[in-house]
């Protein structure tokens, strides 16, 4: 499908913004400025970017423990994100949630997930809400290969399918559930094959190719909006770093890592765009510079923000 040049540049910009954000998160974590556990999205940028490009502000996404990329792509504010990662009072969750619990209802971000797979029924409930209200909002539910083996994958997708809910189940198969590879946790090659069990399309897509993701999710969104129900999209991708910051990921074979590094989603897209003269070297440099500046401002905001006050500890348990 033909895509306007501006849209293509937006996609590229989003991927670069995610990459620069995550690189800085990794540095700040190593510097001891980020508490808890963080899981960065480096290597998987094409998936969030290509998928979320189809959504309006009032469409929903449900994210995962590796969720910063989804939030950036949906229009999340980097300064509030970084402040939350620093556990500051100005963060999205007032410094009480951290990396795995950011939600922003103004942009349809339902939340992330500290427990693998927990987002699947939640996302589907948002899809149900759209149907009850009679709106044409769609929901993209992100989850990983690990989550595809948890019971709520079955319960959630089955219910979405029988009720033809407007939900796209987007499996980011990065081949590893912490240290366990899909080769020993799945008896099939493609998680998308499980769509058959629910009577819905199951589509495999190259998760390193943003336009391939864009196209596959576009079809799924169209189907959802027509009331034809959910689609299971499996994006084959790879996390370039360990499961969490601090995990050296030594369980992964060197050759495998190198093979996937050679298929960097940002490099692939940049080459596509520069080859077709959609993107100049000058623009590449500008986009990079802007992203770095945006991230630097977010870090400055986070660093200068106060920590939550002790007397705020008990706030917001109840409405």
């Amino acid at each position: 499908m033909p895509v306007a040049k501006e849209k293509l540049l937006d996609l590229y910009r989003t991927m670069v913004r995610i990459r620069r954000f995550e690189e800085r998160v990794s540095e700040e974590f190593a510097a001891g400025n980020i508490p808890g556990s963080v899981h960065v999205y480096i290597g998987e940028e094409a998936v969030a970017t290509g998928a979320i490009a189809h959504l309006r502000k009032d469409d929903y996404i449900m994210s995962t423990h590796r969720g910063h990329g989804h939030l950036v792509a949906k229009g999340g504010k980097m300064n509030l994100m970084m402040a939350e990662l620093f556990a500051k009072q100005t963060g999205y969750c007032l410094g009480k949630g951290g990396s795995m619990h950011i939600a922003d209802l103004d942009i349809g971000m339902l939340g992330a997930a500290g427990i693998v797979g927990s987002g699947i029924p939640i996302a589907t409930g948002a899809g149900l809400s759209a149907r009850i209200r009679g709106t044409d909002q769609v929901t993209i539910c992100f989850f990983g290969d690990g989550a595809s083996n948890i019971g709520r994958f079955h319960e959630g997708i089955n219910m979405a399918s029988i009720w033809k809910l407007p939900v796209i189940f987007l499996c980011e198969n990065n081949l590893w559930a912490v240290s366990v590879p899909t080769s020993t946790s799945l008896a099939i090659q493609d998680i998308a094959d499980r769509g058959v069990a629910y009577g819905i399309p199951g589509v495999v897509v190259d998760g390193q190719d943003v336009m391939a993701v864009y196209e596959a999710v576009g079809e799924a969104v169209t189907r959802a909006k027509k009331g034809e129900g959910p689609t299971l999209v499996e994006a084959k991708t790879y996390r370039y770093r360990g499961h969490f910051e601090g995990d050296a990921g030594t369980y992964r074979p060197r050759e495998e890592i190198e093979k996937w590094l050679a298929r960097d989603p940002i490099n692939i897209f940049r080459e596509q765009l520069t080859k077709t003269q959609m993107l100049t070297e000058k623009q590449v440099a500008e986009i990079d510079k802007e992203a770095l500046e945006e991230v630097a401002k977010a870090v400055q905001f986070a660093k200068e923000s106060p920590f939550p006050k002790p007397e705020e500890t008990l706030d917001n348990v109840y409405a």
């Binding site: 929903y60 449900m62 963060g91 999205y92 969750c93 007032l94 009480k96 949630g97 951290g98 619990h101 950011i102 939600a103 209802l105 339902l110 939340g111 500290g114 427990i115 927990s118 699947i120 029924p121 939640i122 996302a123 589907t124 409930g125 948002a126 899809g127 149900l128 809400s129 759209a130 149907r131 009850i132 209200r133 019971g151 709520r152 319960e155 959630g156 089955n158 219910m159 029988i162 009720w163 706030d315 917001n316 348990v317 109840y318 409405a319």
Partner: protein
């Protein structure tokens, strides 16, 4: 004019019907609750009234039922869902405890998680070990949840309406032995506020705190005691979290003695929490050790005679009272 009498199950259905009429953001879903009107008949007529867009039978998917409710609530809806039996709440504990109860706090307090999870609880009707338990103490342990357990049709209607209007997740526990019990229930709109205990019977000699299906039996026990010249005050907290400890403590300060009775297992039962709070707040007023009545550390057996031994009845309450008088 005589007060209208309806059954507990009808009071539940009426509360949901009134609230779903009042607020179009509400909807109801659960196993067998639409077409047949619920395993206990407590949702009869809702499907006919509101249609299948708002009243839905679900597959046997407890996890998805609660997860859907949470997702819909984040997206601005006010779901009323049913987990058919309290025993099966264990299937969806992650959804209840780790997701629904926490969502507001850890996202910075913005979303209103207006979810009501109804469930039939307790035993007494011969259904055995996986259909007779009452886990109120599991839920009162969790910050972010409210826990409600009515013992009369009047309270059932008023508390459920309050629960549906509440902006927090509410675990609404309906003692299954009471579904057929009738009592006066106004046909008009009223709510019983959450977190407010009810003094079911005034008395001066001893305070008996009881909730759930045992409460009517405690009232009978209080009558038996009255015949013997013992004047018991019976308090039903109705909401266990937040607990109206003030009403309980005021009573204990008057009577100086307390018995706490519930049907759930005594060990780590919610009675222990009530006892602890009473001694923290009214130690100097107590003339005797607080007594607790609950099931012994055993499962609920299928044999009716054995079930009657396990689940506490009025005679055990009377024994406990006499032990400290």
């Amino acid at each position: 004019m005589a007060e209208r009498q309806i059954a507990f199950r009808e009071a539940i259905a009426e509360a949901i019907k009134e609230e779903m009429t009042r607020d179009e953001k509400t909807f109801a879903m659960g196993e067998d609750m639409a077409v047949i009107g619920g395993a206990f008949g407590a949702t009869k007529g809702l499907l006919e009234e509101f249609g299948e867009e708002r009243v839905m039978d679900t597959p046997i998917s407890e996890t998805a039922i609660v997860g859907f409710a949470l997702g819909a609530a984040i997206a601005g809806m006010r779901p009323i869902v049913e987990i058919m039996r309290c025993d099966w709440m264990t299937i969806c504990m992650d959804e209840i405890v780790n997701q629904t109860a926490k969502m507001r706090y850890f996202t910075g307090g913005r979303p209103q998680i207006a979810v009501v999870i109804r469930t039939a609880t307790e035993g007494g009707i011969g259904l055995g070990a996986q259909h007779s338990q009452s886990f109120e103490a599991w839920f009162t342990h969790v910050p972010g949840l409210k826990v409600v357990m009515p013992s009369t049709p009047y309270d059932a209607k008023g508390l459920l309406k309050a629960a549906i209007r509440d902006h927090n997740p509410v675990i609404f526990m309906e003692p299954q032995i009471l579904y057929g019990a009738s009592g006066p229930v106004p046909a008009e709109d009223y709510v019983v506020p959450l977190g407010k205990a009810d003094v079911k019977r005034e008395g001066k000699d001893i305070t008996i705190v009881a909730w759930g299906g045992i409460t009517p039996r405690v009232m009978n026990a209080a009558q038996t005691l009255a015949d013997e010249g013992i004047d018991a005050e019976v308090i039903d907290p109705r909401t266990l979290r937040p607990l109206d400890i003030e009403t309980i403590v005021a009573s204990v300060k008057k009577t100086s003695k307390a018995v706490i009775a519930h049907e759930a297992n005594k060990t780590s039962g919610f009675g222990a929490e009530v006892a602890a709070q009473i001694q923290e707040l009214a130690f100097d007023y107590l003339d005797a050790p607080i007594q607790r009545v609950g099931a012994p550390d055993v499962l609920v057996p299928i044999n009716r005679n054995l079930e009657r031994i396990v689940l506490p009845g009025p005679e055990r309450v009377i024994e406990a009272v006499k032990a400290i008088l």
